[in-house]
């Protein structure tokens, strides 16, 4: 049975989205992305280094024609900066699908939800398809959806923390009430965290640091690919009921006596 992942009316094979930050070089980035099987990668918008003429570019290693670039607004602390960044990203290659994150402070990198919701409304009006990084709060994530987000991306734990899904109850609530895809963004530390996110019913997972900072990023990328697939299949299969006591797996009649 086909299990297609759709965001903003476009289908993707992989439910794993990977970030391209924190790698040692572009070669490592490209190898890890390939091993992850991801169809979408997040990218940041930054000033070109004018002094370093002819430096290699991310686009030389990851072809935006064969993989979907998802420009993000990482590092933006105001709505104004986030909007400016995404408008520039759209000018660069016509990208309408973007990831919005408006951060609250440097210590937690928690989203500033007031600025986030405000920015979402503006971007939607300008024709962007906006995937929105948000808190794992069911009320606020509903507001994000109402603002026109094409996907809701609640954090599992703070960005880069690798702490795993901290509030499974909320993530599940958010998934159950949302009519757009819910993608856990941030907090995944290892494969089992990605599986848990998918078992909760989430539509996808976005992972950067857990892959980039693994001792072997390519192997971890491959592991995340299978973790997401495993979690998704487990969710679709509907798990057994938990019981208080044992229940033998082999029949108890016709025992040899």
């Amino acid at each position: 049975m086909e299990d297609i992942f759709t965001i903003a009316n476009k289908n993707y094979n992989s439910r794993l989205i990977v970030g391209t930050g924190k790698y040692k070089n572009f070669e490592d980035t490209a190898n890890a992305v390939k091993a992850s099987g991801a169809d979408i990668v997040t990218v940041a918008v930054r000033r070109v280094n004018i002094l370093d003429k002819g430096q290699p570019l991310l686009m030389d290693y990851l072809n935006p024609k064969s993989i979907t670039y998802l420009p993000n607004t990482a590092g933006c602390y105001t709505s104004e900066d986030a909007l400016r960044t995404l408008r520039l990203a759209r000018e660069m290659g016509g990208w309408r699908l973007v990831k919005l994150e408006v951060l609250g402070d440097k210590k937690t990198l928690y989203p500033n939800m007031i600025e986030t919701i405000k920015s979402t409304e503006v971007l939607v009006k300008e024709g962007f398809e906006v995937m929105v990084y948000c808190t794992d709060d069911p009320i606020l994530s509903k507001k994000v959806e109402d603002a026109g987000a094409c996907a809701i991306m609640p954090l599992g734990a703070p960005i880069g923390s690798g702490l795993g899904i901290q509030n499974k109850t909320n993530i599940k609530l958010i998934k159950e009430q949302s009519s757009v895809p819910v993608i856990v963004d941030a907090g995944v530390g290892t494969a089992s965290d990605a599986t848990i996110a998918m078992e909760l019913g989430c539509d996808g997972v976005l992972i950067n640091t857990a892959i980039a900072e693994a001792k072997n990023p390519v192997l971890m990328a491959e592991s995340m690919k299978y973790a997401v697939i495993a979690g998704r299949k487990a969710f679709k299969a509907v798990r057994m009921k938990k019981k208080k006591f044992a229940s033998a797996s082999s029949p108890e009649n016709y025992l040899i006596k």
């Binding site: 970030g19 930050g21 997040t42 990218v43 003429k53 686009m59 520039l88 941030a186 950067n208």
Partner: protein
């Protein structure tokens, strides 16, 4: 160099000297940057790629050239 032939602009936050009447395509050529891999803002306004030839830079213009890098 004759000072009347050069103009100082702000390029990605730093002072940068260009010949007077330089357009954006010429600036990118000088910087060895391919135009399909960047986006440009002049004085806070995004410039569309088909305007690069006709946009002549003036003294004190604030130019931002951005591209995609790795990010989460």
């Amino acid at each position: 160099m004759n000072n009347s032939n050069v103009a100082k602009i702000q390029l990605n936050g730093d002072p940068y000297e260009i010949n007077v009447r330089t357009n954006l395509n010429e600036l990118l050529n000088k910087l060895k940057i391919q135009k399909n891999k960047v986006a440009i803002e002049v004085n806070g306004e995004i410039v569309q790629k088909d305007k690069y030839e006709s946009l002549i830079l003036n003294k004190d213009d604030k130019v931002e050239i951005v591209h995609f890098i790795g990010g989460g």
